[in-house]
């Protein structure tokens, strides 16, 4: 058996599906028309049933539609249609591995062998319909013994249709021949013969029909009789999880953006879950509404990437991470289009360890870190992260470190020997100072505008490196000095041989 999923008024549903959940329901019941074409003369390319009742037709101009009143107008979203088609295929994929994306808004799946999992054909059809409704589709489902019969039944009959084997011609009889893939000339000929329905075409004698319309005529007759057997062309499973939305008018406020972001992230996580996958990397691209240049090139893009320490399917956590980051970002222009991509990865299945130390909850930690980044910032002027775990860089350069993402995921720790040492407090950047020398040793030093006597000086310790890169090269002559302050201070100072000055690098504390 084969099932066909058909989404009527696909362009309209693809646009409505991108609306916030609270407005989707009312929009489905109210007249909606989708416009496309040149910016100065957009025309209706799709509309729903309530709009048809207002005598609106495909091809009407925006001005004509607006005179009817009460119609919601939306711009066509090709990205939205792609995402909707992918969503439809994935919905079918959750019931059968053999799915054909027949055309826009139509998907056929092979149900053979799924009866034991999902029950009778009628049960499967109901389950498919419920699953598609969850994904924001209002669709028709038909089940039949061959793919084409299922497809024409879905296109011709509303709701759920199940056609028993050997009853195909009987059930399709009332459909109009206009549904068939037929040329205008052939429609004219059939009209001339008075053939309007599938039943009338099926009843014609084969030989005279072939003599007049050729093999195409015979093929059409077999279609309406439900006798065409063909194999499905299964689609390959998508490896990318991308959702996008283009605004009619560029938006400036985060609240408006957040509505859409939440919806897109929800759709992505639902798709990931339907594939039993999770994500640990999220990429956001915001196309900014900058005026078009003469050469046709437009706009800047704002790109952001979040790497999570562990895979997740939690839409609220992902949304919180993105939102908290965007709250502290500023854009040069209003946002025209959002594209969000999730990198798929296998979900994490771990058992709690009784002997592991208490740790911050991994999912909650990401939100905590995002909030802290919002307070202290993401990176410093050198591009080093402001929040994370420090790691020593394998270099002789003083104070060489990087900051890695912090994670509370349990990991094997190497045994370290504990040893209490006199720690340094670093000055970042180093404080410029002046030093008076007695022979080679520092004798007086200027500490925050006060000259202080050096009680003892240990050194010099010379170090240099990165000589092959003039921007990163350093040559230091270091001294550890004991300075008479209100009490006694212990400092590490150095002479920069390249810049030619004295600096206080750190204090012993």
């Amino acid at each position: 058996m084969f099932a066909c999923l058909y989404v009527p008024d696909f362009s309209v549903q693809a646009v409505v599906r991108l609306e916030p959940p609270s407005t989707q329901g009312p929009l489905r019941r109210s007249p909606v028309a989708v416009l496309d074409g040149p910016a100065n003369l957009p025309k209706v390319i799709a509309l729903n049933d309530p709009a048809r009742k207002l005598a609106i037709e495909v091809g009407m101009t925006k001005l004509q539609v607006e005179t009817c009143g009460g119609v919601t107008l939306r711009k066509r979203s090709l990205d939205g249609e792609d995402a909707a088609q992918t969503g439809l295929v994935e919905c079918a994929n959750s019931f059968s591995p053999r799915v054909e994306s027949t055309c826009t808004g139509t998907v056929i799946l092979d149900l053979s062998g799924t009866e034991k999992l999902f029950g009778s054909s009628e049960n499967i059809a109901h389950k498919i319909s419920a699953s598609a409704t969850d994904q924001g589709f209002d669709l028709r489902v038909a089940v039949a013994a061959n793919p084409d019969t299922a497809m024409y039944a879905a296109r011709g009959f509303a709701g759920i249709t199940v056609i028993p084997i050997h009853h195909e011609a009987e059930r399709l009889a009332s459909l109009r021949v206009g549904l068939l893939p037929i040329t205008p000339e052939m429609i004219e000929i059939l009209d001339g013969w008075g053939i309007q329905t599938f039943k009338a075409l099926a009843a014609l004698p084969e030989t005279p029909l072939t003599a007049r319309l050729g093999q195409a005529g015979l093929y059409l007759q077999k279609l309406v009789q439900g006798r065409i057997k063909r194999t499905l062309i299964p689609v390959e499973t998508a490896s990318t999880f991308v959702e996008s939305y283009e605004f009619d008018d560029p938006v400036e406020l985060l609240e408006s953006l957040a509505f859409l972001l939440h919806r897109l992230i929800q759709q992505i996580t639902e798709r990931l879950m339907s594939h039993s996958l999770a994500t640990n990397e999220l990429r956001l691209t915001l196309d900014l509404g900058v005026a078009q240049l003469r050469d046709g090139s437009t706009g800047e893009q704002y790109k952001r990437e979040w790497k999570l320490p562990l895979p997740t399917q939690d839409k609220n956590m992902l949304f919180a991470v993105v939102r908290l980051d965007l709250e502290h970002s500023t854009f040069a222009a209003p946002v025209k289009k959002i594209t969000i991509e999730a990198v798929p990865i296998k979900p994490r299945h771990v058992q709690g360890d009784l002997f592991a130390p208490p740790s911050p909850e991994a999912e909650k930690l990401e939100i905590t870190l995002a909030r802290i980044r919002g307070v202290v910032g993401s990176t410093d002027d050198n591009g080093i992260s402001c929040v994370g775990s420090p790691r020593i860089v394998d270099s002789h350069k003083p104070d060489a470190f990087i900051v890695q993402p912090f994670s509370s995921v349990a990991e094997a720790l190497e045994k370290r020997t504990l040893r209490a040492v006199l720690a340094l407090r670093m000055f970042r950047p180093a404080v410029e100072t002046s030093v008076e020398l007695n022979g080679e040793k520092p004798h007086f030093i200027r500490l925050w505008n006060t000259h202080r006597r050096v009680l003892a000086a240990f050194g010099p310790w010379c170090s240099s490196g990165n000589w092959w890169n003039s921007a990163a090269a350093w040559v230091h002559e270091e001294w550890d000095v004991v300075v008479k302050t209100l009490g006694v201070g212990y400092y590490r100072i150095y002479r920069d041989q390249i810049k030619g000055g004295w600096f206080i690098g750190a204090a012993f504390d």
Partner: protein, 229 residues
């Protein structure tokens, strides 16, 4: 009189905490890894606000983080970005278990001191960290004295419900009665001869503790070696 008693009984039944004298709960301690400090203080108490002040505070903090990072996840809110990862690494810290928050390094609206307090608040509310240390050493006393006592009190009450040791590193003590433990460190005159700076003598003065306080004349001293000694 009877009405008063019945009213009191009803309040006690509905809000038992309201009529009970306040008792600070006693929890475990985390070793600083320095025997003399541990003997004097009994360790850094969890669920308590502690202050480490004076000269040598960074070394005690580094040793505490190194010791605690073997059993707990730790967080360091570095208000002036002065933490030296190399010192912590030499002390034996598991740096992968240390969350380092560097305040004042990015162009943000909040000044670094407010960033540090807000971050500490977020970390304490998030939970799961064994030690949350806030380094305020490099701020002027004038600035820190402006922090209202209510802020310290709020931190002390928040941390009381958690199994976290909240440690402030400052030049002088500021939390007053809100702190469960206050240590003041001083450098003692050391031998300053030779060609290599090898060690510093430190003296521990216990200013406030929940345990029985040592006599003020007893001030344990200990030597801290430099990384290369």
């Amino acid at each position: 009189m009877r009405a008063n008693l019945s009213l009191r009984a009803e309040i006690e039944a509905r809000f038992p905490e309201a009529c009970r004298p306040y008792q600070q709960r006693r929890y475990d301690t985390i070793s600083t890894g320095i025997t003399e400090v541990d003997l004097a203080t009994g360790g850094i108490p969890v669920s308590t606000l502690s202050e480490i002040c004076g000269s040598g505070k960074t070394s005690v903090l580094t040793s505490l983080l190194a010791n605690a990072s073997h059993e707990h996840y730790c967080a360091l809110v570095d208000a002036k970005d002065s933490f030296d990862p190399s010192s912590a690494d030499t002390a034996g810290a598991n740096l992968s278990r240390l969350l380092w928050v560097r305040c004042g390094k990015s162009k943000q609206k909040l000044p670094p001191l407010e960033q540090a307090f807000t971050t500490a608040d977020i970390l304490l509310n998030s939970g799961g960290f064994g030690v949350v240390a806030v380094d305020l050493s490099d701020f002027s006393e004038r600035l820190i004295n402006k922090i209202p006592l209510a802020t310290w009190f709020r931190f002390a009450r928040v941390v009381e419900k958690d199994r976290t040791a909240l440690v402030f590193i400052e030049k002088q003590q500021h939390a007053r009665s809100c702190a469960g433990l206050v240590i003041n460190l001083k450098t003692s005159p050391s031998l300053l001869s030779g060609t290599l700076f090898k060690q510093l003598q430190l003296e521990v003065e216990l200013i406030r503790t929940a345990e029985k306080k040592l006599p003020s004349s007893v001030r344990p001293t200990f030597a801290m070696n430099t990384q290369w000694a």
